[in-house]
Symmetry: D3
Subunit: 285 residues, 6 copies
């Protein structure tokens, strides 16, 4: 168990339950029960691997008789043509589990690979690439781990482990000094182990956030020039985070504004799957 406990496993169980239901009629009606098979997963694209533990969980749930041998580790960079996993077991259950396991591995490796691209793009700057809460239901722990495999870092996991005061919170508080009031309320009431982050949209709000003692200031949808100003203004008294519509072709310029963190929702909600094929050789034991 190198990652979180239980939720992602429950999500995979749901995926298997909805896919397999009361049995794989095609495999059961066309493949003899005694047939065995071996298979291998082959990279059709280069990238960074993530999701081996999830794939292993899928095969084990569908049939403990399936043996999966990983030839690489999560976080490894692989090339086209690399074989990353070997499989052996009953042909029927291998065919049943194939799609779910492969989908997870492709999707999570896609996130790791996209993260590595963003991390590469800001190389040499001080900026750290982080993720967001825009993840797939139930798979958040796996997807955040994939970001780490790709060299990124994680933002808060969910609503309970970090304070992030956003526009709607500020609107709820109201008044000209709402940033100050919000930061102070959070400082007084939230656990002392948590940093206080607040979203600002102007330089004036940035200054107010610094004065109020925010630990992290999210610069929401600012221009690069504004962000560079904001970074100067903050002057190391808080971390600064760029947020909003960051793309691979714009991330370097953002990093060069001097921000500490750049959050990229696309890492988890829009990373294209990494292309991996799974081919079986089927025999009869």
């Amino acid at each position: 168990m190198s990652i979180g406990f239980a939720t992602w496993q429950a999500a995979i169980d749901l995926a298997l339950a909805e896919d397999i239901g009361d049995g794989d009629v095609t495999a059961q009606s066309t493949i003899p029960a005694s047939a065995t098979a071996t298979g291998e997963m082959l990279m059709k694209q280069a990238g960074v691997i993530s999701g081996l533990e999830a794939a292993r969980y899928v095969f084990a749930r569908v049939d403990p008789a399936i043996e999966m041998t990983a030839l690489v580790r999560d976080g490894d960079v692989v090339e086209v043509g690399d074989i990353i996993v070997r499989l052996a077991g009953p042909a029927r259950t291998l065919l049943t589990a194939e799609r779910t396991a492969l989908n997870l591995l492709q999707r999570l490796s896609g996130t790791a690979t996209m993260t590595a691209a963003f991390v590469g793009a800001v190389s040499g700057t001080n900026a750290i690439i982080v993720d967001t809460r825009k993840t797939t239901p139930g798979l958040r722990a796996l997807e955040k781990q994939a970001v780490r495999h790709g060299g990124g870092n994680n933002h808060r996991f969910g609503l309970s482990d970090g304070v992030l005061i956003k526009d709607n919170h500020l609107a709820a508080i109201g008044g000209p000094d709402r940033v100050t009031k919000a930061v102070r309320a959070a400082r007084a009431n939230a656990p002392h182990t948590m940093k206080i982050e607040v979203e600002v949209t102007t330089l004036a709000e940035t200054a107010e956030a610094v004065a109020a003692g925010a630990d992290i200031i999210m610069l929401d949808n600012m221009s690069n020039d504004e962000m560079a100003e904001a970074v100067k203004l903050v002057a190391g008294q808080a971390l600064t985070e760029a947020s909003g519509g960051v793309r691979l072709d714009t991330v370097r310029a953002i990093a060069e504004t001097g921000v500490d963190l750049i959050s990229v929702g696309a890492l988890t909600h829009s990373a294209p799957s990494l292309d991996i094929s799974l081919n079986f050789v089927i025999g009869d034991s």
Copy 2:
């Protein structure tokens, strides 16, 4: 309960559990417990709505005191600027539930909207747009319903409710007459209520599938010319299904080959979210 039972609800519960964990510290530390709010969901893009039931489920799970009033129905076509949902309730829990509910509605409406685009593109032909098993873990029932809201139809739900003999099954069976053997095995062993579908890649295999009595023949990654040939060859003795890399700009030409069905994985795995905003007005009761 207009759709499937339980699995999607369990998936939403997982999403809430991982997001909310032991409580929304930001809302709890910055918003008074007694504050109430009203909100409205506003369309920032035109499209087809799907997911109102899922959104309603989210709000009810987070706080039964939240009232959600839908001004439209799933399947309705909406325009930019339309208000589709009104909300009222405790400010804290509205803020806590907001993101999960909105994400589901945006994602499912995205699927319905993309489906409607594909259905529109083949209008006037006989082709029906159908989905695949490439869905989000746990949300399959919701996503397949979104396809119906967009005017598409559904392929089999999972491995247990339809026979689809694919390349790996054929490889497992082997021999020059493997299509025939596979279709016959399925006919003999699968429930009589199920149609037998087989994937073919050549005209020769198409002919073999027809002769073997397949009910549906999936033409996998054939050129449009080949598909037109295949449709002629099948001559109504089975349904034909085009599959593989179908895009909005290529779907019409595919439909014009005369195929009965066109399956589009992108409807569920790559539909961009429909942009919907949720704005709150917060007071104190």
Copy 3:
């Protein structure tokens, strides 16, 4: 995992939870913790075995230290006096698990054995014996598998994987052409992978169903003469299914009417358990 995923396992877990609760007081108060035992299951009646996987699951859940060795396979025909399973393990937990495991095996073998009797009775005709949805809550996948072990075939698994238009649906649609309307609505709206089955009670409705393009026509509680007429009338344009009060002494005559399928609810709701005894030899390790 040769059958469906999870539901039957959850049902067995419930059975164990309600039976064992917080522990087997009798075993714990009368048998030393260190006592071990071996046991064997002995056929007291001849029949067809089904349920070995379920029995294995029970023993594994109660105590992974129990070893169960099956001497036969599901689907095997066994005689009085045959030993089908050997057991070894801690005496206490063997006594705790015994009843639940044996009950499942007796009940499922009962279904397989009754199915084999019906299949034998129609031997030489074209009729196939199929089951219904009248199954034990949570055990449907196991019971439908038992029907296959007995040589029968399965009707749809549940409401989501087959269209079966029954009297109440027809009543809901109404009008003199309600069969036609119902079949057409189903064709238009249900997944193309599903066959459309409709229940009829007269020859006129049979003709209407054929004309409407039904794939399967259920002849509900018709006399054998009427069924023979109906089969002629359908003339291979659809499958015909006899349904309603089929008994072992009437099934042959029904099969001889030429129907394709005969559904027998009794296979799952009224099959007498097959008599199997489980005797222990208990020692102290």
Copy 4:
């Protein structure tokens, strides 16, 4: 909540999940979403009602919009032609829930009715009719309640709430004084709130059980003459329980031997369902 907590509800959830899966395609493809219906449950046989709470749970789970009004109470004696339940709600979901709800009500009323028949047969004697652990997985609490509705009483619920030393326990203990040893071990180790019951097959064992201080003595498969002897021998120092193959036509003679309790497995494992029909009138709201 007039009966046990949770297990039977979980069992019904499993039954609904396996039956409904991802939706009732027939209802959804043939009945308009806006159609409403009313229905009534009509007795086709006389008997004792049990299971109204279970039926209500089914309808509420499938669709909270369904209204179920019971015209009788569990335990009531009803006649052919009595209407016992009225239903109103969306036509689709009523059709979806119908079979599961009705099956439970028929099955549980069957148990209550058979129990009432056994209770009537021993009327005027001192014997009490009790059930066994041979119940349907997950439904034990409902079935034991049905026995009470029929005027019977309950044996222990499961392995954790009563000591019953059976042949296999005695074999495990061994020796000529195994009954004595077993009863004493149970007395020493089991909770003092539990009575100690032991199964005997001879008069000698009966005497030994009395001497050892058993609270209840199960007379297993004894002849009526032997049982009458055993009752005399026990002379009120323990309760006596007749067990094994008790039928409606033999139960009176057994009761007249003077035994205190007669356990009847058939009440839960072989009670024929009570025939109840459910007819809908469908409209469009």
Copy 5:
């Protein structure tokens, strides 16, 4: 599985889920993934061990690669300085599981140890020490087992496996003969396998309970003199149970009144944890 089925495992799963959530950030950020460790649990106090099975379950759930070797058995008496468990496995997951496993073992051993103290204090009398329902949510089976490990015996497990008529029940029944009415109602309606226990507060009620045929009479908060009177009055016609505020320094005198049972809520709700330390030696494999 030497104790109850499933509930305590589910409770431990909840404890792990709430503690570990989406991963142990400290271990993951400071300890290399490849580091391994060995550890040993050392007694800092003398006492009676209970909870080895629970601890084993925790380690297995967190990481099946952890090996736990117990050097003692539940129920063993251990001394300061004894090593009771050795551990080996991945350093990260050992650190993650440590606290939960140790807490359970300390708490359950605390219950076993306190029970042994009470059992010792009444040594030579006939009184048996028993527990109550005042247990930790979800852990009742483990805590009742710990009482047995300490030499005590168990009262009823919960509301469904024993009749205990308390003051509120008597108030509900009312009238001067409410004890008689309550005992008779229970005798008539509760399963015959259960003993009937009634709570009394005076000698008059004690006499009434005996006359009504109660099996066990709970003497609630009586003085020792009253209890001695009550025991004489009951004269072996029922078991007597002392209840209410029993302490280690008062229990002997209570036992000497001649009561059969003494129930002590403190065994489960107030036993101090037994002090056990867990020290790791960490290497890199």
Copy 6:
């Protein structure tokens, strides 16, 4: 939903399942089904209330027909003799739910009350009282909320939402500069939203922690003099936390050392229950 999602509800469900099992035999056998009751909860001790939401959940789960009216709010200070809750509903289910609801309320109010005592004891200093992870399995969210109701604040919720480097982590890292290495590793690898806390036992380690940039420094089992030194040394560059064996009679002196935080495990693992009685008046409707 003013606190965390789901885990505590699941824990209460387990508590109800193990307590109620298949039904409350005492209530069912002695109280008529039609009896109703009203009740009120009366303070026998003064204190701070917490747990009303949990109590409400218990009653709703056992029987939605029970009405609970709270006359106070969580966090309110109450006196002996105050009535805090009124109840009305079916007598049987009120008796069934009573103990579980009351236990939760007593326990959580005990935590709130003890917290208030500690908070009062340090009044006028800058120290904040915080809790630890030593909570009851499954009830952590409720217990941490109770600490807030008593005026305390929360430490991290679990392993996933805060970095706390303890002795075993430091041992695992090793070397003379292990504090520095550990803090730096955490800073590099943990989410930027989290503060880094490290446990130290000497002034030298304290200085090292400051230099390494720790956000919070836990002073483990230091004397008050050492702590005062440490606070001076830290000089506001990090928060300081006193930890280890803090008691009500020692906490003020600890606070006066100038530490920012004082963590008290006893708030959740050793708070005595607050004495609340629940008395019923039972009638027959």
